[in-house]
């Protein structure tokens, strides 16, 4: 309950009580004053006629008393007047009926006994009357013979009972009373209010300020001060509160501030989480393999999905392992020792490291690695980003090859052109001289030799020109791979028999549609087959197979495998180069495989070699399958 209400609850009854009391008291005051005035009037009249009354009482007769009483009554406008003797007997009464009665009630008896005037309020015939009783004494005789000390010896004759009407008095009294009361109430009310306001100002206001201050502080506005209005308990309380609020401001974080801090912290956390999420997305979403390894131990602490894909292992197989498991062991692949990150960083910072990685199945892939140092929470790490450049390298190689071949082709064409003339002349002369020789002429041998060698030159040049005549304008048509191969095999099978080689065909069961030039493709097969036969001088097995490629979707694989002498690793790279031949002088032009390479390239395919010395060789030609719709 509010203080004001309490104050009011206290003050109002108090005021009412006090006002009530005051009113009542003043009321009573008014009454007695008014009654007194009536009494005095009565008594004054009586005492004015003391002598007469004394003398009349001495006689004791009604005739003497009554006129006096009547006069008294009239002059005072009284209700009645009576004279009683000491016993209470009515000697005379203005109401003659009363004469001779004796009033013996207690009040009257009391009045008779009283030595001084007494009055009482009573009702006579329904009217409120003030009954005044005044004792009558004997007269003081002037006596020259008064003995000393006995002057006041008097004798009481009786009592006069005077009834004064109070009606008008009462009316007056009422009016006065009302007036007085209203005044009192207003005064009291005003005073009360004044007091209340004063109290409020003195107590409530500071209390309210304090309360407001407290509530503000509780909401977090530390450091607030409430003005101290007074030196009393409230003032002390306020001062103490200010002190407390001040301390609170210094030692406590306000709720608002706390909320701010929490929001800030949440924001930072959110930002951090976002950053982590971004990093994680980049890390996992990267197409290149990213490997993070401990700089000191070399153990991989984190790898992304692309890494797993690159080396064909699960992440769990890699994390915790030394990063060397990514690289081919000594002796495999290029045979270079795989540079560790660290070596690379110290020696070749900022350069991409060209290396090979090895998959779980032993497949080698060319990669380009960029390495950087990371520091995470005090620990040193190395991060390597591996880009699979296997395809790129192959493409580069074939492009280089292509360029080489193209250059050589042009050279060849030029040379061939120049050579044809002299050759023609040599051959022409040789043959025409031979024609003129007689049987058994000794010049026949040298001339015939000249002719033979000239023809050989012609064939050489032809081969060279076949090679230089790059299949640019070659017509492509829709073909079934197997049909083309069968066509070539019919030529090959005859040879295999003579070479003591078993020919095995593993052809795909269904149509393998390709866009190709029949002649050229057959050239390729024949060439490869010939090489295979040459590699098996003591016989063996030649296997020709066609399959849908598993490692390159949308392609057909034509494989030519022999069980011959194989090709050494260091020669494998050079094998497609023009003029490279392992055959004896006169046996091979070295143009066959480079032509094969060129034809395969122009068909949009690739050729690969897998071989080990002494373990035969497999040439795999990959050609794109023709989609069902459209033309070649």
């Amino acid at each position: 309950m509010k203080l004001l209400t309490k104050l009011l609850l206290f003050f109002v009854p108090l005021t009412l009580f006090l006002v009530g009391a005051a009113v009542i008291i003043s009321g009573k005051g008014i009454h007695s004053i008014l009654v007194d005035e009536v009494n005095n009037r009565g008594l004054a009249q009586i005492s004015g006629n003391t002598k007469a009354f004394s003398m009349a009482f001495e006689s004791g007769t009604e005739a003497a008393l009554l006129p006096l009483l009547q006069s008294l009554k009239e002059q005072l406008h009284g209700v009645q007047a009576a004279a009683l003797d000491q016993t209470g007997r009515v000697l005379a009464h203005t109401n003659v009926m009363e004469k001779g009665k004796t009033y013996s009630d207690a009040l009257t008896t009391g009045m008779l006994r009283s030595e001084s005037p007494v009055f009482r309020e009573t009702a006579i015939q329904g009217e409120v009357v003030l009954e005044i009783s005044a004792p009558v004494w004997s007269e003081e005789k002037e006596d020259f013979l008064i003995t000393a000390g006995d002057k006041s010896q008097k004798q009481r004759f009786g009592t006069i009972m005077l009834g004064m009407p109070l009606t008008r008095t009462i009316q007056l009294e009422s009016r006065l009373f009302v007036r007085q009361s209203v005044f009192l109430i207003l005064a009291a009310g005003g005073l009360s209010l004044g007091l209340i306001f004063f109290m409020m100002w003195m107590i409530l206001l500071p209390a309210r300020r304090l309360a407001a201050g407290i509530s503000k502080v509780s909401e977090g506005q530390y450091g607030l001060t409430v003005p101290v209005g007074s030196n009393d308990e409230l003032g002390q309380l306020t001062a103490a509160f200010n002190l407390m609020a001040g301390n609170l401001g210094k030692t406590t974080v306000s709720r608002d501030k706390l909320a701010e801090e929490i929001i800030e912290r949440k924001r930072i956390e959110e930002a951090l989480r976002e950053t982590e999420e971004k990093y994680r997305l980049q890390f996992e979403g990267a197409l290149d393999a990213i490997v993070v390894a401990d700089a000191e131990t070399g153990l991989m602490v984190n790898v992304n999905n692309a890494t797993a894909k690159l080396v064909g292992r699960e992440k769990s197989e890699l994390i915790g392992q030394h990063q060397r498991i990514l690289y081919p062991p000594q002796g495999i692949g290029r045979g270079e020792s795989a540079d560790t990150f660290e070596y690379h960083l110290t020696e070749k910072k900022d350069q991409a490291l060209e290396a090979q990685v090895i998959t779980k199945t032993g497949e080698l892939k060319e990669v380009s690695i960029t390495v950087s140092q990371l520091e995470i929470r005090g620990g040193k790490f190395l991060q390597g980003i591996f880009r699979d450049v296997t395809m790129q390298r192959k493409l580069e190689a074939s492009l280089m090859q292509s360029d080489k071949l193209s250059a050589i082709g042009q050279l060849a064409a030029g040379v061939a052109h120049e050579i044809n003339n002299p050759l023609g002349i040599i051959l022409g002369f040789a043959q025409s001289v031979i024609k003129r020789l007689k049987e058994g002429d000794s010049l026949a041998l040298p001339l015939k030799t000249i002719e033979r060698e000239a023809i050989r030159c012609k064939d050489l040049v032809q081969n060279l020109l076949v090679f230089s005549r790059t299949p640019k304008g070659a017509q492509l048509e829709e073909l079934d791979t197997n049909a083309v191969i069968e066509g070539a095999l019919s030529l090959i099978s005859a040879q295999t028999k003579t070479h003591n080689v078993e020919l095995v065909k593993e052809l795909y069961a269904a149509f393998l549609r390709i866009c190709a030039n029949k002649t050229q493709l057959q050239q390729v097969i024949i060439n490869l087959a010939n090489n295979a036969l040459d590699a098996m001088p003591k016989g063996g097995t030649l296997t020709i197979s066609t399959v849908v490629s598993a490692k390159q979707p949308g392609h057909v694989e034509i494989r030519v495998r022999d069980t011959g002498t194989g090709i050494a690793k260091d020669l494998q790279k050079k094998i497609f180069e023009p003029f490279f031949t392992t055959k004896e002088v006169g046996k091979g032009t070295g143009l066959g495989l480079s032509l094969v390479y060129e034809i395969v390239q122009k068909h949009g395919g690739t050729i690969e070699l897998v071989s080990e010395e002494g373990k035969g060789a497999v040439f795999t030609v990959l050609l794109p399958l023709k989609p069902a719709a459209g033309k070649c």
Binding site: H417, N420, G424, I425, L427, Q431, S432, C457, Q462
Partner: protein, 127 residues
């Protein structure tokens, strides 16, 4: 082949071929005239009638095919054998020159029998 002396024109920038043809054909009774480029060939044409003209392709000033066109313009029935360098794509080239009016096409280095075969194209009719 006997009869009236046959006249042959060789148009080639390579002197060796002229020597070769003379060596082969003069003993057989042919007269061999020489031109070393297309323009000279035209000159020779004005001087004589020829039973056969052997025409090289790659020559300065005027190539064989160009001269062939001109010859055919003047003498539509002239027998001309083109001698191409083996470096020209065979089939297509042969078709082209025949379309221009050549009777045959030889690819250097050719053999003796090829020359003899083409000589047989010379009609034996004499007037």
């Amino acid at each position: 082949m006997t009869g009236k002396e046959k006249h042959i024109l060789i148009v080639d920038d390579e002197p060796g071929f002229h020597e070769l043809f003379r060596f082969i054909l003069e003993p057989l009774g042919f007269t061999v005239s020489s031109a070393y480029n297309g323009l000279e060939g035209l000159e020779r044409l004005k001087e004589h009638e020829y039973d056969i003209i052997f025409l090289d392709v790659h020559m300065p000033k005027m190539t064989g095919p160009e001269l062939l066109k001109l010859i055919k313009g003047i003498k539509p029935l002239q027998l001309v054998v083109i001698m191409s360098s083996g470096s020209d794509p065979r089939q297509a080239f042969e078709t082209t020159v025949k379309g221009l009016g050549a009777a045959a096409c030889m690819f250097k280095p050719f053999e003796l029998h090829q020359i003899m075969k083409n000589l047989e194209r010379i009609p034996c009719a004499s007037t």
